[in-house]
Structures are given as C-alpha cells and as structure tokens.
Symmetry: C2
Subunit: 696 residues, 2 copies
C-alpha cells in the first residue's frame, strides 16, 4: 500500500498568471524560465546581479486556489545572505536564483525584474520606455587556458558566452578592448562581466569586460544636436532611466545663427566645414565628459550614443560639407541610419569601444530630429489625423495617420525663440514668459522665468530673479501678441491700434506706428519692454511659414482639418495652445486636442538608444514618410500670404472662435471709422479671467 505521493508544489507567477508544478528544490528562476515568465538575470543564477529579485506572497489566494505558507520558499542561503549584507535587498524580496520552491507559492515579479519591462519615468516626460538595448551585460564563467588544448582567451570567452548566454559565435572582440582582455580575465578569476553589443545588423562585438559586475550596469547617451543648443541625456541602459541631463549652446553659432548661414560659411570659407565639425564634436565630447563626471559614472561604462539632428547638423557632425543641402535638389550624403564607432565622431569621453547610432534623415530639409519626433509621436499609428509640429528655428511638420504620413520643413526663422524681437531674449531667468491682458483696461499681467508669481501677486518684485525683468522670450511674445489680439488692441491684419482707437494707455506712439508697453523698468534702471509693430510683423512672418507648411501638408493629404495637434520641441512645451491658435500658428482644432509633447526629438533619441526595435521602426518610418518640398511648391507662397492675418485671412477657425470669440477691429488707414466700434465689440467677448484660468 504505497501512499499516494504528494503532488509537486504549484508555482504561480504574477502579474502574468503563468503557473506550473515543480519539484521541491527547484530555484524560482528555473521555474520562471521553464514557464516563459519574463524574469531577468545578468549573472546567470550566481546570486551576483539581483536582477531576478521576486516578491513571494503568503496567505490564502482564493482566486488562484492556493494557500501559501511562510515556508513555501527555502530559507535564505549563504549566497543570498552575502548579497543582502553587501548590497542590500528590499524587505520581502528574495533572489529568484537562490530561493527554491518548497510548497505552493504565489510569486510577484516586480517591474524592475522584468527583462522586457516598460518603465514610466516621470523625470523624462512620462514616457513609457520599452527596453531592448543593443548592449547587454552578461556574467560568464570562462574556461581556463589549457596548454594541451590551446585556444585564445577571447576564443574561450566567446565559447562561454555562446554556451551560457546564447551569444552568436560570430562575436568579435573590439580591437580597443583586446589589450586589456587577459588581465581582466585573470583578475576576475575567470568569472567576468562582459558587455556585448549586438544590434542585429552586424556580428556581435565584445565592448566591455570587468572582473566584477559593474554595480550600476551600462549607460548610454541620447543626444539632440540642435542648431542652437545641444541637449544630452545620460541613460541607464538597463532601466532606461535618465541619470543626468545637460545642455550646452552649439558653438557653431559663431559661424552663423541659423542653418543656412552655416552652409554659407562652409561655402565661402575653405576648411570652414571642418572647422564647424571640430567645434561641434569638441562641444559634444565636453558635454558627455561633464555629464558623466556629474553623475559619477566611469566613462568605460558609457557604451552607446544615439544622436538626432537636422540635416545640416548631421552633415557637419559627420564631417561632410553641407554645401549640397544649400541648393536644390538638397541631396543628403546619406539618408539612412548610420552605425559606427563613437570615436569616429571624435567622442573620446565614452568608452573607446562605444558605438554610435545616428537616426535616419527623411530628406534634405527633414532630418533625423524629425524622424525621432515621428518615432516618439508615432503619427503612423494614430487612428485620427494628427499634425505634429516641432517648433524651432526651422520647424518640421508631420501630418498623418495609419494610412500615411507626410512631412515638410518650414523656415520659420528665430522669432519664436525671441530673436529679431525688439526686447527679445532667449528663454532664461528674468525673461517674460506669460502675459495676460485685461481687455477692459488694457493692462498686462506678467510672469517671468525663475518666478512662480504673477506680476500682480504680492512679493513679485522682491522675488524676481536677478532683481529685474530683462526681456521677453519666445512663448512670452506669442502670448503678448495673442492677448493683444484678444483684447482688441491689434486687428486681424496685425496693425496695433492707436491709444485713441483702442482707449488703451499702454499703447504709445513709436515713430509712424504704435507700441504696446508690457513693462517699464526704466525707473529702477531696467529696460522698457514693449511689443512694437516690427515685433508683430516678425511673429506674423514666422507663424505664416508654420501655418503654410501645415496647409501644404493638408492639401497633399486632401483634408481641410486635423483631428489633433501635437506641439513638439523644447519650445513647444511652453507654448499655450490657445495663444498659438489665436495667432494662427496651427490650424483650427478643438483646444483639448492640442497637446505639448515636450522634447519629442530627444525622446525619440532615447527610444533609439534603449531599443533595437525602435531603431528598426524609425528606419522603416523614415523611408515610409512622404516628404513634401516647401521650397518649390507654388501653393506654399499662396498659403504663406493668406496666413499673414491673425489668425487667418480666409480660414474661419470656427472651433477657436466658438471657444474664444475674437474682436475684429480694423486699424488700417482706410478703416479709421471702425476703430471705436471694434473696441466696443472686444468688450463683449468672454472675460479674459475665465480663459486664463482655463489655460493656466
């Protein structure tokens, strides 16, 4: 009479719900692998990396039909105790490779232990970052050399990586690493941590080797190389998190403020392109070096860099003379993505073995930055029709949905960034960034960068950064002009009304035109900050270019309207959708369908840094997106002229007007009689207070 044998314990993994019975003594990691549960491990079950951390649950789980006792997992063993003593382990956590199954158990796999985890990082724009990095760490046991069966140390390391981790046996050793290989293997006692770069497009490459597992793992850089600023994010290649961010001005500014002036510099000055290449590479390298130092990260752990930039910056970074980009047909030297050694880009601040990935360009005027925005915002996966506007010195626009995506670029000029504006300045502490004008009084309330208070809040003056208001930045000038339009101080043609016509004492004569005084700091030695007629014209030119680009794409797409608008770019994050629409920067659209995406190009760069799948995706996307050339489209000029009015001469903007009725004064010489009437109409509009609260 043999007693019925007890069944093997039941193991249930959460959140997947995968379950199975396993013999007592089976390590949790082994059970997870056999069930296909997504549980990470870098050290291969040696109790070193703690990537396989699990949280066992105890108690009665009616839903799963099991009761878990406190002894469902084995007691702590020496390896687990050593790990906890050395590096610490959160309460309730066990090492999945050490804890073994002893009874029915429910095991939670926390997000950070999932190999293909998706991690939401608040600090870098609420993006869900899917991890599929090209460079991964593996702890590996290497066979010692045997005189009677001779083989190279690297050859045995490769065999071990193949056997223990499934790394392809075409693995090569980066030549820069080879001189250090033998020493590290011996120092590690033939157990080492190996970094393998495998992006699926070339033979995998050994790019790092350490005698002990580097505690923080590997790192990479996502760089958005703009005409004006260079922004870099130092990212953890395991978690996808941003460890440090920083930015510097692009030193090429001294060769020309905008792209075309840099192309001219290269054309006019022999060696000019090389000079600009050297300047930007040095700035990049210094930025990376500073970021790594700030984050306290060993440069040997910086194994990858992903770069986005516009076509001119792309060429200058790569050492290519951008002359072809300055003339039709605007041919790029290479539009596809580029893969190379980071040191081939002069980046010595990373590991000498580090690899660089430059995202693909879409066309001669629509660069890798636009491709990165497309990757981040995925218009190609949108069910409704979305217009993505990346606002900068040059604006890139994407319009599309699942059926197709169009792209163009538009030369908006630097007005949106505060340049070419009488009191304009870059977005920096002391700059006016928010403006509200009371239509009844014509008085303005302001907010400046570096202070959380409005100018009519108590303590505003005392809290001003640097003690004074210094100028007005891009978002400030946009709000000021839009508020002037909403308050009836400005007519649809962009003309500022006289004090008499508007009844506003903030308006002062300024030569043959008028200016609106936003802030007079002269009494305390500060500047007079006014919106001049010239400023209005500069904003009109910039917004016309932007709007004309959007309309050209809409023509090509065969649509009269868009369902959604996404404002991208660091600057786009600060633009108020209402004010942008009042100016007619973007097409008419329900205001709650206008969203800021922050630095979408930088996000796209991070995605490409963290994921091989994202690289494949952006490469496909870049070839699928249809580029519409603004430089030669006759309709672009027509659209540009029609878009000069605020918001537009012909397009009615019904959704905007339903939300915010606009007064329609006319201050032109031929329409002098209309001024009073217009002012009166303005007074019948919604109170600005209601709008302000809604949009603040």
């Amino acid at each position: 009479m043999t007693p019925t044998p007890l069944p093997d314990p039941l193991v249930i993994f959460l959140p997947s719900g995968k379950r199975g019975r396993f013999a007592r003594g089976t390590p949790v990691l082994t059970a997870a692998r056999q069930l296909g549960v997504d549980l990470d491990s870098v050290c291969g079950g040696r109790g070193i990396c703690s990537r396989c951390q699990v949280a066992p649950a105890t108690g009665n789980f009616a839903k799963h039909g099991v009761t878990v006792t406190a002894d469902a997992l084995s007691p702590w063993n020496a390896v687990e105790e050593r790990y906890r003593a050395k590096r610490g382990l959160a309460h309730g956590r066990r090492l999945g490779c050490q804890a073994t199954v002893q009874g029915d158990v429910v095991i939670d796999v926390p997000p950070e232990s999932q190999m293909h985890r998706q991690i939401v990082r608040k600090s870098a724009g609420d993006r869900v970052m899917a991890m599929d990095p090209a460079t991964r760490l593996f702890v590996v046991d290497v066979a010692e050399p045997d005189m009677h069966d001779p083989s190279g140390d690297f050859d045995r390391l490769r065999a071990a990586l193949t056997a223990q981790w499934g790394v392809a046996d075409t693995l090569r050793c980066d030549p820069a690493l080879l001189p250090r290989l033998q020493g590290v293997l011996r120092k590690g006692g033939w157990q080492v941590a190996a970094a393998v770069f495998d992006d699926g497009t070339e033979a995998p490459r050994l790019v790092g080797l350490w005698p002990d597992l580097p505690a923080g793992g590997l790192y990479g850089l996502a760089i958005d190389l703009g005409s004006t600023t260079i922004a870099a994010h130092l990212c953890d290649l395991t978690a996808g998190s941003v460890v440090a961010s920083g930015g510097v001005m692009n030193p090429q500014i001294r060769f020309g403020e905008d792209l075309m002036s840099r192309v001219s510099y290269a054309m006019m000055n022999p060696g000019g392109a090389q000079e600009m290449t050297a300047a930007v590479r040095t700035a990049l390298d210094t930025l990376v070096r500073d970021l790594a130092a700030e984050a306290g990260i060993d440069p040997a752990l910086l194994v990858e860099v992903a770069l986005v930039c516009n076509p001119v910056m792309h060429h200058l970074l790569l050492g290519i003379d951008p002359v072809e980009l300055g003339q039709a047909p605007f041919a790029l030297a290479q539009s596809g993505a580029l893969r190379m050694a980071a040191r081939d880009l002069g980046l010595g601040a990373l590991a000498p073995t580090a690899r660089a990935y430059v995202l693909p360009c879409i066309a001669g005027h629509v660069g890798a930055d636009a491709a990165a925005v497309a990757l981040a915002e995925a218009p190609d996966r949108s069910d409704d029709l979305v217009l993505v506007v990346d606002v900068g010195t040059n604006a890139e626009l994407l319009l599309g949905d699942r059926s197709r995506v169009l792209a163009c670029s538009s030369p908006t000029g630097p007005a949106f960034e505060g340049a070419q504006i009488s009191a304009g300045q870059r977005a920096a502490p002391g700059a006016i960034e928010r403006v509200r004008i009371d239509p009844a009084t014509g008085a303005a309330r302001l907010r400046v960068i570096g202070s959380d208070l409005w100018s009519d809040d108590p303590g505003f003056d005392a809290g001003l950064p640097g003690g004074r208001i210094t100028g007005i930045c891009g978002s400030g000038i946009i709000e000021a002009v839009a508020e002037m339009r909403m308050a009836g101080l400005l007519d649809a043609s962009g003309l500022i009304g006289s004090p008499g016509a508007t009844g506003c004492d903030r308006i002062v004569p300024d030569g043959r035109t008028f200016s609106y005084v936003l802030h007079d700091g002269r009494a305390t030695g500060g500047p007079l900050i006014a919106v001049t007629q010239g400023d209005i014209r500069a904003i009109q030119l910039a917004k016309s270019a932007l709007y004309a680009g959007a309309r050209l794409l809409m023509d090509e797409f065969g649509t009269q309207g868009v369902d959604r608008v996404v404002l991208a770019g660091a600057f786009g994050a600060h633009i108020s959708p209402l004010h942008a629409m009042v100016l007619g920067m973007i097409p008419d659209c329900a205001l709650d369908k206008v969203r800021s995406a922050g630095n979408a190009a930088g996000t796209g760069a991070r995605m490409a840094l963290c994921s091989r799948a994202a690289r494949r995706q952006v490469e496909t996307l870049a070839t699928r997106i249809v580029k519409v050339e603004t430089a030669i489209a006759p309709r672009f000029q027509e659209h540009f002229v029609a878009a000069n009015a605020l918001p537009h001469a012909a397009d009615p903007f019904p959704l905007l007007r339903a939300h915010t009725p606009l007064p329609d004064p006319s201050f032109g010489a031929a329409a002098g009689g209309g001024r009073r009437r217009a002012r009166g109409r303005a007074n019948t509009s919604d109170t600005p207070g209601g709008r302000t609260q809604e949009q603040a």
Copy 2:
C-alpha cells in the same frame, strides 16, 4: 514558300568549351554570361575596364565543327576604338562587351579575363594564386538626386550597386569615406568606380570611390612580420601579382634579439610592451609608405592588408602585453583570425578605409606564421606524410597528411641565422653561403653572397662584393659543418679532430680545442674566418632542438619516418637538403623528397590577401591542427640529447647513408687510437665532387 531561316550563330568559348546559339548582335559578354563562362567585367559592359577582353579565332575548327570567318564578330565600334586609342589593346583582342556575334565564332578567354583566374607568377615563387579578393571594384551608374523622391546619395549608390552588381543591400559606407562621397559622385557625373569590401563575415562596406576607374585597380599588402625582419609584398588585387616587395629589420631588435628577451623586456619595463608596439607599427607604416612610393601607387588604392607573425609579434602588433606567452600555459589573447580597420593597427600609409586581416594562430608558440605555412603547403591535403619545417630563430614544424596535422615549435635559437657563431653574420653581400671541402686535401672552396663564382674560379677575388669576404651566414655555417663531417674532420659527437688525427693543415689549435680555417683574409686586412669547436656546439644545440621537435611530432603521429620534407622560411630556401640531413637537422628521407618552399609564410599571407576562400581555409585549418607542446614534453629532452650527435646517436639515417656514406672517425680522448683509422675510412667515401655537382 518561306525559306528555311538560318539558325542563330554558334558561339564556342575556350578553354571551357561552353557553347550556345545566340541571336546576331548579341554582345560576346552577354553570351558568356548566359553560358556561365568565367569572363570578368568591372565596368558592367561600358567599355571602360577592358577586363572582358577576348581573343576571337578564325579558320576551320574541325574539332568543334565550325568555320569562323573574319566577320564573325562585329566591326570595331566607337567605344572600342576609343578604348584602344586611350589605353591600348593587344593585337587580336576585342572588348567582349562591345564586339557582337555576327556568325559562328570560337572565342578564347585569356587567363587575365577570367574572374576566378589562377595566375602563376614566377617572380613570387611559382605559386598558383587563386583570386577571390574581399575587395572588388565596380563601375556603377547612380541615379541623380530627386527633390520629389528624396534619398541620400549613398543610399542611391547602394541601390545601384545592388541592382547592377548584386552587392548586398546591407552595404555600409565607411565613415572615413562619407565626407568625400558627394564630391566624387558629382565629379564622375553619377558614373563612378566603387570599391566594396565584402569578406562574407560582416555587412559589405564601401571603402573607395573614384570618378574614373583607377587604371591599375586595387592593391593590398601581404606582410610577414618576423622577429628579425619584416617583409612586405604589395600585390595587385585583380591579378594577384606582386608589384613591389621590400623588407626592413624589425626595430624591436633593440629591445631583445629573440622573442623571449622581448617578453622579458615587457615584463621588466612598465610601458615596455607599448614601446615595442609603437616601434613595430611605425616600421610597418614606413615600409608600406616606401613600397607604395616605389611602385608609384596612390595610397588610396591600398585597401587591404593581410598579416602573419608569430604569437609574440602578433600580440605586440595588436598592443597586447605578451606576458602570458612567457609562462605556461602560454595563453594567447585571441587565437582566431582578426578583422579590423588597418588604422586600428596604426597603419596610416594605406587608405583610411583599408581593412586588415590577421591570420589565426594555432597556439601560444605556434603562430599565424605557422598557420600561413600550413595554408601555403597544405599538409592537410597531402596524400603522403609530409614534415614542413619553417626554419628561423624559432622553428615551427608541421607533420601530417589528409588524416591529421600536428604542429609544434622548437627554440632553435639564432645560430642558423649566423648569430652566436664566431665569424657569423646575417645573410648579406660578402658572407660565405656555400662551402665545399675536398676530403682528400681538407681544402675548402667557398661562395659568397653577391658573387656567382666559387673561390677557385678565376676572377673570384676581383668579383667579391666590397672587395672582401666578411663572415659566414647561416647556410654557410651549416654547409661548413656538414662538409667537415663528410670529410672526416669532425666526428659524430661533433668534436673537431687535431691536425695530426685528420691530416688536415687547415685545422689549427684554438685553446684546448681545434678550429677549421675557412678563409684567412688577414693579409689583405680582412678577417680570419674559422669554424670553432664553439660554433659546432652552437649548431648542434640548434639542430638538436629542431630534430627533437620533428621526432616528438613523429612519436605523436606514431611513425618512424616521413615521406617528404619541406623546408620553409626565407632561410630554408638557402639550405642544401643534403647538408641539412648530414647535420641531422631533419629526419632521414629520400633527398629528392626534400624541397624548399621559400617564404611559405609570406606566400600564405598573399593567399589570404587575395582570397576569401583561403581565409576560411586557414581558419578551419588553425583549429584542426593539433598542437604538441615541446616545453613540457619529457620526451622532448630525451630526443634533444639523442639528436646532439651528427647526424644522430641512435637513428641510423639509412637513406642518407645510402646516398652519401659518412666517415665515422672518433676524436674523443678515450678513442685516440681510432683517429688514423677514421681518416682512412673517410678516404674511401664517394668523391665530394660527385656530390657537389649533384646538389649544386
């Protein structure tokens, strides 16, 4: 009544014999391609490259059943005329892409027009060189940029290479080439010559681009990096021919004459390895630069380099500290072949895009040079058992046949190269390289490097390079010692007999031993060149090491004899097989089965340079060859001691003695009575004149 239509003309290609009927007007190149005839073309039928040259034959070909008339091919067209005017075309040759079929024709494809040709080059050692280079040239028509369908210039070039030449669409542009790409495409009017590197192990790579097809094609370097000398062959990558050869002394000699002293230098001096790496890289780079200048070749056309070297040189070249090679278990950093950018080896004299291939090593003491010898001599394809001996400061030995191949290295020391010999010198003009001793008189006849005369020929003294004899080189001392042994002046134990015991007045007392005077130049201010007892001992040590290595391999193979012996190495080329065998440097073997292979390592390097198949072959071979470690084999010591005698204490050398009976005097103290008798026996041997003529 329609007349029976004439059949299409019959086209017969020689030497393949492939035949087919083609419509009148079909270009010969097209016909060849459709029949699978091996006819080259680099320009794709544009009449530019002349690689498709053919030689049409006229007359009656009974064997093929056709009669070929003079108008069987079309008359010369403008393209063909232009080519002939510009570059010349040998009599009887036509361009296969321009000449069209007009009637039955027999067409000979000359060897140089065969894509996979095998070319015999007398100048580089009668080797059949199979061409399958990794880098090839293609003339390609690239689509011009189109603003409405934007794509990068490289992307269009890649598409053209894929469409017109079947290059894989994973082609990448080398980052060093990218800055020049747009200019070349425009200069070439969108028809350019592209060099594509595709070794089958990584994505193909664009490594060169020219607006016109470079007249001489592409070039590469095969380098044999030895401890003492560095030899380089500059090769035509189309024809496989050696365009220029050169050599320099390895500048590392100043850090140590032999390998182990260089390893010691690295161990004793911090930074010593880096110092030696820099020295050898600079020497290599200078050598390449000089060779290219000598041959008048644009460095941009030097696109590949293949390198062979022993393990210590291998590590020092790669910047790896060789310390592990100085101690058991003699672990190499990497034994497999290495592929990298030539600039990663500090080779700036080649194109910046040039690729380097370092042949695989077999083991810690058996390097890429031995692997190259194995590739060149192919013991693994030998039906009979062959011993390949690469003689140098360190000797490498290979023993095997189709069943298996064994390898070992043996520390022979520098005696065979003239070092550690009293009057020794390197092989250079003025050095004695040949010696014949008349056994009857004990008188020596000599030949020196730089003169074709023997010392008893009229005009010898007048023809001496530099006016005098300066010393004795490796092959000279080997012949001298062997001739002394054959003349009975030396006994089997290596002892020089006294003038009394030998009756030879060339023998003079020299301290407690005797020396044999080869040449006395003192009267004219030159040196006294004698073979001392110490010289004999040095040669005995060196040859014992060599023989012991061979015997160890024979033990391991389970054989008492070998069928063939191949002497490799630059020095091996100058050793007389008879004299080597008399000394017992190599095992007993029929003398006509002993062959010199010249610089087989250099030949192997050339094969790897010219052929991807050869690379695959040597990589397989290197892992298949079984290495026998001499340093730890107890039997090696036994074999070494037994091999001290001339030719050997125990092995009878019956084949040698049947060919050349050896006198067996004994000059040891305990055998004083035998001296006269031995001398007498020597006189009964064959006349040295007969042997000399046979071996001369």
